[in-house]
């Protein structure tokens, strides 16, 4: 993270939602959702299951349109045509089992115009991904690392990870966290990570957005929380229990 980048990115939002409403089959899923994520931040989107996290992710990635309200990425409306600006790791997403990691990466590098081969090689080393290994024979942790590699080899300025740790072993978690941190330090990429795995991630976040019952329950700067003697975990408990 260079100081120049910090200045130019000051005050800009990577994500902005205002008064967002979504109902599915007349059932309200999100109501009056408003929050912002500044450029260059590593924000945790935290909340219990069924809080509306996945619906929110679908809005940001353009898979769903809000019934009302504004969803913006870098100051312009979200939508499928903005997919070039974001790299999304879906929860329980599946890669083609019959391919090896190397074959998959070749395929992906052809699909994404912003693929960076040099970054792919460096991340493969950092994450411990072996090109010869067949995806169908990988453990959940190995596959999660390959998914993250796919996500981060692109140069998209916004990275959204949906439950990157679900079912992932400890060593893979640590490697995933380290890779995310190095990516952040390198440039002014913005990360939004939805998780209920607070302990693993709380030292990584600089900002948290708490969502529950389809609406935003709070937005906090993590160091400010700590200055008042609260941890991410205790704040989460206060809000949700």
């Amino acid at each position: 993270m260079n100081s120049k980048g910090m200045v130019t990115s000051k005050g800009r939002s990577a994500v902005r939602c205002e008064e967002v409403q979504v109902a599915i089959k007349r059932k309200p899923i999100l109501s009056r959702v408003s929050f912002e994520i500044p450029v260059g931040s590593l924000t945790g989107l935290l909340g219990p299951n069924g809080a509306g996290k996945s619906t929110l992710m679908r809005l940001l990635t353009g898979l769903l349109e809000p019934d009302d309200g504004v969803v913006e990425l870098f100051g312009r409306p979200a939508g499928w045509e903005r997919l070039g600006e974001l790299s999304f790791l879906p929860d329980r997403g599946q890669l083609p089992a019959h391919l090896t990691a190397g074959e998959w990466l070749n395929l992906a590098s052809g699909i994404y115009p912003d693929w960076n081969k040099g970054r792919e090689a460096e991340l493969a080393r950092e994450l411990g991904v072996y090109r010869e290994k067949k995806i169908g024979t990988m453990s959940r942790g190995e596959e999660a690392r390959l998914q993250l590699l796919t996500c981060l080899s692109r140069e998209a300025p916004l990275i959204i990870l949906d439950e990157p740790f679900a079912g992932v072993d400890m060593i893979s978690r640590e490697r995933i966290s380290s890779a995310v941190v190095s990516e952040m330090a390198d440039g002014e990429r913005t990360f939004l990570i939805a998780t209920h795995d607070i302990r693993e991630m709380e030292q990584l976040f600089d900002r948290i957005v708490l969502i529950g019952g389809g609406t935003i329950q709070g937005e906090f700067d993590v160091e400010t929380l700590r200055m008042s003697g609260r941890s991410v975990e205790s704040c989460y408990r206060e809000v949700f229990s």
Binding site: S178, V181, A185, Q203, R226, V232
Partner: protein
């Protein structure tokens, strides 16, 4: 050319972190103590912000703030293009040891006061045979 001084690579196990206090403060305190007791020798090269953040798995901003504060305390110095090093200035290290000693005595005085003793009385009492 002189050989490059060794890089000290951190692991999160080198630190005791309380998640309900600002993280950079805790890193500053603990690295300061490592320098004061000589565990981090003068001239030791420290890893970059990126490497430190990745190995500790903390936000890079936390590491930046930690390094900035240690620089302000003149305990580490950054040379452009070469990296960040523990200071060679013995006076800065001596000052730190003195400050740490004063802080320790202040805490001990508080403990003494909480049980109605002066620092000297506390010391005497603790040395009496049971």
């Amino acid at each position: 050319m002189l050989p490059m001084p060794p890089i000290r690579l951190w692991s999160i196990e080198d630190f005791q972190i309380d998640p309900s206090r600002p993280l950079y403060e805790q890193f500053v305190e603990q690295i300061r103590a490592m320098i004061a007791r000589g565990e981090l020798e003068p001239g030791t090269r420290l890893p970059s912000v990126r490497e430190t953040a990745a190995s500790l798995r903390v936000n890079p901003t936390t590491v930046m703030k930690t390094y900035q504060e240690l620089e302000r305390l003149e305990l580490i110095v950054t040379f452009r293009g070469q990296g960040t090093f523990v200071t060679q200035a013995e006076e800065a290290i001596r000052q730190t040891r003195m400050q740490l000693a004063k802080e320790a005595v202040r805490r001990l005085e508080e403990t003494a006061r909480s049980i109605g003793l002066s620092l000297e009385e506390l010391w005497e009492l603790s040395r009496e045979k049971e």
